[in-house]
């Protein structure tokens, strides 16, 4: 890999911060970057990998910043991109939001972090939990933090530091499933995908050993409990703390968790799911004067569940004006800058149907060029419900001191 240097640029391509790790690519090289981006954008051939002379630029864009890594080696692209995203993640955890302003305000910390994240072009400590132990916003705790002696245990657990103590020992388990669905205009489902993640928030003392039980179909078949409701998980990925060998042998998920928030595992379901909120729309366009849009939304999930914060974004022509709305529930807003009508429904119980009518005036002169028709998109969140039916059966917590700990489980399904 070995990135030679890392740059953070503003939208105009001016370097806000640069850190030259190896010194084999001059800092001046970055001046070519913005030109290249603009040129390629004009040609319609912009790619996240650009080259000038012998220097390769790998870049990502975050808010109003470009993060660029330069290298001369024929390295591993996905590693560099992962690293750049990691940098963004770490910065976000430090400054809440990563943008030009926060970089300018905190550039001392940014430099400190860049120093710790990478040395000589190789990623070093990137775990923000561990970084936060010795690089703090105030920088006051510094002297005590870093002098901790590294663990002398041979099988050092790099993701958890020793001697963590909590008064109340608790684990929060969030099962979050996001549904990606694409429905064509005639109502057939083009693409359906469920991406699930299990997130843990761990407040446990010492070095606890956790075991998580799911209603995994393979496991049920192994133990002969085929009758129970079970779920077939695909493409399961775990946090590095999970002992993969044990999962392969007997499908138990056992691990020593890092402290605080982390994503334990993610999975994918390819099974066809029907859309949870079904949208039908009718657009009537009376030429030169007005357009009427009628949107019907129907909750196609269990009656007991309620979808929260449903937001239906309906695209409208860019030259529409004087909006009028009528809704059977919730409220609608017109966002002229995004050419959208946002229809928000705070709570949407399953099985119900809601209607919205929108009415727009159109200028009498029609625009020449044809506009793209973006799809209607829906955002929602349904708590206490999973599309896949995955369930946490148990969570066992074992620690030497033998304290009692409480696991809490929460299920959420949201739009992808």
């Amino acid at each position: 890999m070995a990135a030679s240097a890392l740059f953070i640029l503003d939208l105009k391509g001016k370097p806000l911060i640069s850190r030259n790790y190896k010194g084999d690519v001059g800092l001046g090289e970055i001046e070519h970057f913005m030109g290249l981006v603009l040129q390629r954008e004009e040609e319609g051939a912009l790619t996240p990998l650009l080259t000038h002379g012998k220097v390769h630029f790998l870049w990502i864009k975050h808010a109003n910043l470009y993060l660029v890594a330069t290298t001369k080696k024929n390295g591993n692209a996905s590693l560099v991109y992962s690293f750049l995203y990691k940098v963004v993640e770490v910065f976000c955890e430090y400054f809440k939001e990563l943008e030009e302003e926060s970089i300018r305000d905190n550039f001392v910390i940014v430099y400190e972090l860049l120093d710790e994240l990478m040395d000589f072009g190789f990623p070093q400590t990137t775990d923000s939990k561990i970084l936060q132990e010795y690089i703090t916003q105030e920088g006051n705790k510094l002297e005590t933090g870093k002098s901790r002696v590294p663990t002398t245990v041979t099988n050092a657990v790099s993701w958890r530091s020793e001697g963590i103590k909590y008064k109340k020992n608790e684990v929060f388990i969030d099962v979050i499933e996001s549904v990606n669905l694409l429905v064509s205009a005639n109502g057939s489902v083009l693409l359906s995908e469920v991406v699930g993640t299990i997130k843990l928030k761990v407040f446990l003392s010492g070095m606890p050993e956790l075991r998580l039980g799911l209603n995994d179909r393979v496991l049920f078949e192994l133990t002969g409990r085929g009758k129970n409701k079970s779920v077939e998980l695909e493409d399961v990925k775990f946090h590095q703390c999970v002992r993969l060998s044990r999962f392969d042998n007997d499908r138990t998920i056992s691990f020593i968790p890092p402290d605080g928030d982390f994503e334990l595992m993610s999975y994918r379901l390819n099974t066809q799911v029907k859309p949870l909120i079904w949208i039908e729309s009718v657009i009537e366009k009376f030429s030169h004067s007005r357009v009427e849009i009628m949107v019907k939304a129907k909750g196609q999930f269990k009656k007991q569940s309620v979808a929260n914060g449903v937001e239906i974004a309906v695209p409208v022509p860019s030259d529409a004006d004087s909006p009028k709305f009528k809704t059977s529930a919730g409220s609608a807003r017109y966002l002229p800058e995004r050419n959208l009508v946002i229809w928000t429904i705070k709570s949407f119980p399953g099985g119900k149907e809601h209607l919205m009518r929108a009415h727009f005036g159109l200028p009498s002169v029609e625009k020449e060029e044809e506009e793209g028709r973006p799809p209607i998109s829906v955002r929602f969140e349904i708590p206490y419900f999973t599309v896949s039916g995955i369930q946490v059966r148990y969570m066992k917590i074992i620690e030497k001191s033998g304290y009692q700990a409480l696991p809490w489980v929460r299920y959420i399904t949201q739009s992808g």
């Binding site: 002379g53 591993n76 120093d115 990623p123």
Partner: protein, 737 residues
Amino acid sequence: MPYLGGEEALRELRRALANPHVQADRLRYRAAVLRVIRHMAQGADVSGLFPEMVKAGAAPDAVQKKLVSLYVRAQAPRQPQLALLAVNSLRKDCAHPSPAVRGLALRSMCGLRMPGIQEYLQQPLLSGLRDKASYVRRAAVLGCAKMVKLQGDAEVDGALVNELYSLLRDQDPIVVVNCLRALEEILKKEGGVVINKPIAHHLLNRMADLDQWGQSEVLTFLLRYRPRSEEELFDILNLLDGCLKSSSPSVVMAATKLFLVLAREYPHVQADVLVRVKGPLLSACTSESRELCFTALCHVRQILGSLPGHFSSHYKKFFCSYSEPHYIKCQKMEVLCELVNDENVQQVLEELKGYCTDVSVELAQGAIFAIGNIARTYTDQCVGILTELLGLQQEHITSAVVQAFRDLVWLCPQCTDAVCRALPSCEDAVQDSEGKQALIWLLGTHGEKVPNAPYVLEDFVENVKSEMFPAVKMELLTALVRLFLSRPAECQDTLGRLLYYCIEEEMDMAVRDRGLFYYRLLQSGVEEVKRVLCSPKSDPSLGLLEDQTERPVNTWASEFNTLAPVYGRERWVLVSARPPAEPSHACSCTDSGNRDSLISEGNKEVLKVHPDTGSLTLIPDVYLTAEQFEKTWLSLDTSCRLSLPWGGTVQPDTVQTALHVVHIQTVAMSRAGAWPWKAYLSAQDDAGGLFLTELLLEAADAELQVSVKQSEARPEALQTFVSALRTVMGAVAGLGS
């Protein structure tokens, strides 16, 4: 810049830094240092404050130390004399009780890129390697690499290398990975770090402790290791199986590459790996990060090159969604083209058709070309869709469709009739140069099947004066002469006018020449014209050549997970074969440590060959034909044989360019990726002696066999020639690895 030349501001800063009251108060002192850094970041010249800053670095506050080291690193190259001051205080810090300070001091000291610093570095580095805090060891290990890089050509200290090898057994996983990285840099000239059996097994056992960066790099280093037995190989593959399921895409990719390379002799294992990696790759293709998604898509294309149909059942995953950036949509369309099969062709075409009317011109045209590509296999359906698109009368769509038709007719002559039926009525909508050329070519070549062809061309001739592009005029000339052969009565008048215009009024010399050529050709009689112009109208065999499908996995396994697939095959060849960086370029890196740029370095050596060869001067631009070469080659005995170290594959373009620089002509050469790879070279010196050379590479990672034949026996000239050749090939080999 408000701060540039702010003498006043500088003086005030100096006063603040030197004020004993400020120095006594930690927070105020730090704030003053912070102000200096802010000035520096804004581009002001703060080098005058060096002594004060160094003094500030000696204060106990660790944050302040960091700030000062940032300052020192930036300013040291400008003030090498004063930088020694800083070195002194940093050395003191290396013995500080806090490991954080020790590590920081080591890192800053190694970060000072200035000559002569090595002698101060050695001692602290060695004690840093044995430090009890892993934080310090991490910094020290990489520090060694930095120091060696600063040394440049000097001999590498063997004791240091041994020390680093022994640190591979360190308890801290990052130290282990850093050791590998450092050794790789230090031993670059000897081919990098050596992975023998104990080291490989040790690394495999430590795999679980490493973070994702470490894992992917160790997987890359393990590529060097060749298991002794089949059993060992499969043990390794079993051990690493978990990596294929890692949550980090970079680890998945690195593991895939390792598997493919290790199992190069077991095609079924490779196929199995590709099946297992399908899931992770697909989820990377739908990942939130666009760049990772893009990288994954590029690799999917690479795999499809060898295993067409591998992803066919997942074609829906490659449908574009509205908000994706252009580059991802393009990649997805390419993928769709490659995975099309009997079952999904209907859906894929339906989807692509949807993109054809997209607002983005590039996307729409890309989709049309994609349909054109699919048309090579599913001709009828695609021609139907394309014809339908013509009905939209949109400029960019029609232009792209016509271009797609042109390429299609050339490869699939069976669809000519359908295309010709669709052609009339689209001439008004084509405005750009590419589209016009395609349309004119089609009308010229297949004009006998398009009823109104002569009249469309006549329109073009009418407007030829206002035509902007010479290429269109050339195409028009050829097309009209061709059409004249099949429909003389309708074309004669128009052709006459066009020829008159081209010869008498046209300003572009190429067009005028072409016009004159046809004029003279026509003078020599119709039979002669027919003989010259009636070339074949289609060539279906070309289609097969173009999609050489099913390249074996081994041809790209070594490129997997590098930048090469991300650039795409053709572009990568261009990028990597680009002539060495222009000199101004190399100078712009003011840092002395320019060691990495093998290419410019290699080039310098190559150029040096000329002055000191003395007895040998190769004449530029001597060309030997292949027959001459063969005759001479067979008549001579080999005067010299040698083998050169070589790693990886050969980039013929690079080799050729490099050889050309030293005036060695390449007579013939196998294409990239062919095994065995051969090249024949010739050169002539000023005394008239010929040097004929054969380069032979049996397989990737073998040694390059060189045999040289000489027309006159002159040992000293031969010696110089061989050493020149050796230098060039050495430089090229350095690029390849």
